[in-house]
């Protein structure tokens, strides 16, 4: 644990430079005095003894600097000096300082804004169990702008894909009209975005529900059997004020009733 003591003494030098200097000064002073005394004993007169000792000692401030350099803080001290100088200069010319700061603030702000946008859209991994293991399957036919598989083809692929742990289908349904009945019997109609997904969706992604349950493979076995929906956390918060009684309510999506069975976790925004 010797290094802890070493770090502590280094920090002591950094935070109490005055004490460090004083101690070194005192040490060198006593060294000098002892030298003078010895010179006196060899028969020099006082003036000569002092002079000889001082000459022997050399450049004391330089020596102090060299001793301090050893503690490795000189560069940091110079940095502090530079910062202090910069602050003094800024105080003297407030106009220039304001313009420079505004320029920097705008520049940094614009960059940050653009980056956060790109980060959300392009860079951030999907908030799922194993984003690196996801594969998007599409047809090699480039003439279609959106790759679509028929349901029977999807079923074949799903049941026979040996290389992957699972397969799910999804399609965005943007601009659908959603009618929901809020608490107290009020109904609201709004245009929303959503995704129609197969029952394996949450299983394969490894996303579990914040509340209620997620969709299960059994949910899509019967055509038109019992449409169920999982709503996003944001929608739950905005539309239902996080009311836990939302489970079991119905959501009419383009006239088809879906029963809400769960709420997705806050970080999950679906797959895009």
């Amino acid at each position: 644990m010797a290094w802890i003591g070493r770090i502590r003494s280094r920090l002591a030098v950094l935070f109490h430079p005055g004490r460090f200097d004083r101690e070194l000064e005192e040490e060198m002073q006593s060294h000098l005095e002892m030298q003078v005394e010895e010179n006196l004993e060899t028969g020099m007169d006082a003036e000569e003894a002092r002079y000889a000792a001082r000459r022997r000692f050399g450049n004391a401030p330089l020596l102090r600097e060299a001793s301090r350099e050893i503690w490795g803080w000189i560069s940091l001290e110079r940095l502090f000096q530079d910062v202090r100088y910069a602050l003094r200069f800024m105080r003297r010319s407030p106009g220039f300082t304001t313009v420079a700061m505004l320029t920097l603030a705008l520049g940094i702000g614009a960059n940050t804004a653009i980056f956060s946008l790109l980060d959300t859209i392009l860079l951030r991994a999907l908030p799922v169990r194993n984003p690196g293991g996801l594969v998007f399957v599409q047809k090699a036919d480039r003439r279609e702008s959106v790759s679509r598989f028929s349901y029977p083809v999807f079923r074949e692929l799903r049941d026979k894909c040996g290389s992957f742990s699972g397969l799910f289908a999804f399609t965005p349904v943007n601009g659908v009209t959603v009618r929901s009945s809020g608490s107290g019997g009020s109904t609201a109609e709004e245009v929303a975005m959503g995704q129609l997904v197969s029952g394996e969706f949450f299983d394969v992604l490894g996303v579990s529900a914040l509340m209620g349950r997620v969709l299960r493979p059994e949910d899509d076995r019967v055509q038109g059997g019992h449409p169920v929906a999982v709503i996003s956390y944001g929608y739950w918060k905005r539309r239902w004020a996080q009311d836990p009684s939302v489970l079991g309510r119905t959501l009419a999506v383009d006239g088809v009733d879906f029963t809400i069975v769960g709420v997705a976790p806050p970080e999950f925004f679906g797959v895009v």
């Binding site: 010797a2 101690e23 060299a66």
Partner: protein
């Protein structure tokens, strides 16, 4: 301060720390002035310790934990910083001495007439 007739040699670079450690081992705790004098006297006035290298060297070995320093009162008005050898310093000294021997024997073999 050259003493009459005798030339004094600067201590070869890298060996000063070894000499300081050895001096502390031989004579026990000492202040900087004492270390310098002692090296000078033990070497029959051949080696001269410059204050300009002594104090930086002391700081260096202090950081490395080979010595510790403490202030002791000397007389009525003077305080002196006294250095003690630590176990780590002892180990370092042994290592440096054997390394020095190895190198100087090698140099000896090179310059010795065959």
């Amino acid at each position: 301060m050259l003493s009459a007739g005798k030339s004094k040699t600067e201590i070869p670079p890298g060996t000063l720390e070894m000499l300081i450690l050895k001096t502390l081992k031989r004579f026990g705790a000492m202040h900087g002035y004492g270390i310098a004098k002692s090296i000078q006297q033990t070497s029959d006035e051949v080696l001269r310790v410059e204050e300009g290298s002594l104090y930086p060297a002391l700081q260096r070995i202090l950081i490395k934990g080979w010595v510790t320093a403490e202030w002791v009162q000397a007389g009525s008005k003077r305080r002196m910083r006294v250095y003690h050898l630590t176990p780590a310093g002892r180990k370092q000294l042994a290592a440096e001495i054997s390394e020095y021997r190895r190198v100087s024997q090698a140099i000896e073999r090179v310059i010795e007439p065959a």
